[in-house]
Symmetry: C2
Subunit: 386 residues, 2 copies
Amino acid sequence: MDEASLSAVSTPARIAEVGQDFEADEIALATRNHGLPLEALRYDVTPPGLHYVLAHYDIPDADADRWRIRLDGLVHEERLLDPAALREYPATTVRVTLECAGNGRAHLSPRPIGHPWLLEAVGTAEWTGVPLRLLLAEAGLAPGAREVVFTGADHGVERGVEQDYRRSLPLAVATGEDPEVLVAYAMNGQPLPPQHGFPVRLVVPGWYGMAHVKWLRGITVTAEPFTGFQQVTAYRFRQEPDQPGEPVTRIAPRALLIPPGFPDFMSRTRVVRPGPVTLAGRAWSGAAPIALVEVSTDGGADWTRAELGPDDGHRWAWRSWHAPWRAEPGHHVLTVRATDAAGQTQPLEQPWNRGGYGNNLVQRVPVLCLGEDADENADEDTGQTP
Amino acid sequence: MDEASLSAVSTPARIAEVGQDFEADEIALATRNHGLPLEALRYDVTPPGLHYVLAHYDIPDADADRWRIRLDGLVHEERLLDPAALREYPATTVRVTLECAGNGRAHLSPRPIGHPWLLEAVGTAEWTGVPLRLLLAEAGLAPGAREVVFTGADHGVERGVEQDYRRSLPLAVATGEDPEVLVAYAMNGQPLPPQHGFPVRLVVPGWYGMAHVKWLRGITVTAEPFTGFQQVTAYRFRQEPDQPGEPVTRIAPRALLIPPGFPDFMSRTRVVRPGPVTLAGRAWSGAAPIALVEVSTDGGADWTRAELGPDDGHRWAWRSWHAPWRAEPGHHVLTVRATDAAGQTQPLEQPWNRGGYGNNLVQRVPVLCLGEDADENADEDTGQTP
């Protein structure tokens, strides 16, 4: 090994030992990126700073005035777009639930070493921008066009490969009308925050986060399938490292519960008092609308149908649901399961793969319901009834 | 142990074994809270969503229209303040660098089990609100007043104790003019985000984060020192669990370097190419202005003085600094050390205590400088010069 080569700092993908605790590298990723604290599922649209964030490399130091997006490859007319020019097109706004393909990875056994998401790598925002299909139509697709490759300004090394973050979409997806891919410059009515792709990013409703290329600076129409790292090495469903694997694409169905009651600081176990508790949360799927949400309060033995919130017409965003529960003293495990209109449902056993992608195993929320008189440990004068 | 009591889910503080990896509980805290990605040290004022966040319990579901802050205890006239009423006072805005007292904990050996911050639990914001001393003067302090206790709406369990988050300040601090404690309702000119205390929080310039009570709903003037959990159990410097310990108060000096070059995704090791590199970052101290920043590029053997950025008059915010470096192929460890005008400087050996508080051990940034021709592993056509 050359001492001054990338292999000195960038190693192949690994799987942890069964039961192994988390490594310092995993902690370093978890402390700089972040998930959605699950109580923030209460908001229809996630407030800034609560939406999940994953940047593979550094957040670029972007200057909007000097930013250019090159549209090239198999087009009749190459374009050099700047953020101001994008604002001259009619604006489209779409509410999208975005989830990281690695959400759930930290619950897998054995655990692939990577970003240690538990269940919180999700968020919903209103994205505003220009439909990609309009920009492509304006440039004019040349014969043989097959894919569109998107290049971000974030630059780094991954598994020994130095790269700009780069992903492709099949032409039919890139020019599709439903979902419509956006070249977005605003989030919740404001310029994109730096960590969400300022000044311009891609938004691909219904797809996992890896497709929504941030800090977008290149759009290239190609005749051949893209073979870059993030397309053929990462984000593939594989059981063995030498398999080509199936590509990760659309978001699998998932329901999450707003953890009821209040938490213990360190264990995050939930505590409630006896009596009626409204269980509520969100459910989503990138393949089809949510058709059914079921809740179990006994760890998955019995299931009851939750009531879905009104269909507010936001097809690409999560849907609210709620269900009543009567808490009785003792330990409980709450579980929730979503099924979409395409018939996909969440598994009760983990769907393991080497990358830890698309793990939509049902959530399990341990809850302690206190006995009627179990408040002897309260700090003096706490006052509030939670 | 009563099965339905808090002791079933909330355990005493622990210290990890030397060299022990991180536990699932630590990961759960790290994925919901988050630090400042260190490249964001580039911003004078931290953009929303990049400033560090630590909520002990859940982020409350606050309704500003129904929010009230009770000011009571040893005052001549009790008050019930609402957020709108606070806006009728002349507004004060102060730029403050806020750091978690647990920043650096995850680097300690042995490591106290808690929020596993490496070095990123920091951020700088412009806070706007009403000086607390004006509110206290208006209510009128009664004889015997000694401390002011602040109650947040966040409710949970910690080490077996159910509590609202609650902290006190000595009366002299609460009514001080420099720093001036603020009852703040805006961050960077906008209403507080939910995770930063919406609708109202305390800001105590120069103090570690635990003093800046979020979701403020109570201000109580007392005759006796406050003995709640967050005051006498947590946030104390102790070597042994049965010591009373010294209280954690003002922020110790620290300098951080914006990691140069670009990262490896998993190891976060930095990679640069040979040649001149500008090292830059921020330094701060809660006790006195920053007097000196020194940089070492050989792991702490030799130190050179960095150039401080202009004194912009923001006494309670971090100060920028920079220093030149000529990178040569091979492995390097960059280190930076701040000294304040009170003569406090950062230690080269860890200042260990059982809570992992105030660990301002110098940062160490491993950097690989590639050889002149070490780009054979680049993904095709990456284009960008980092």
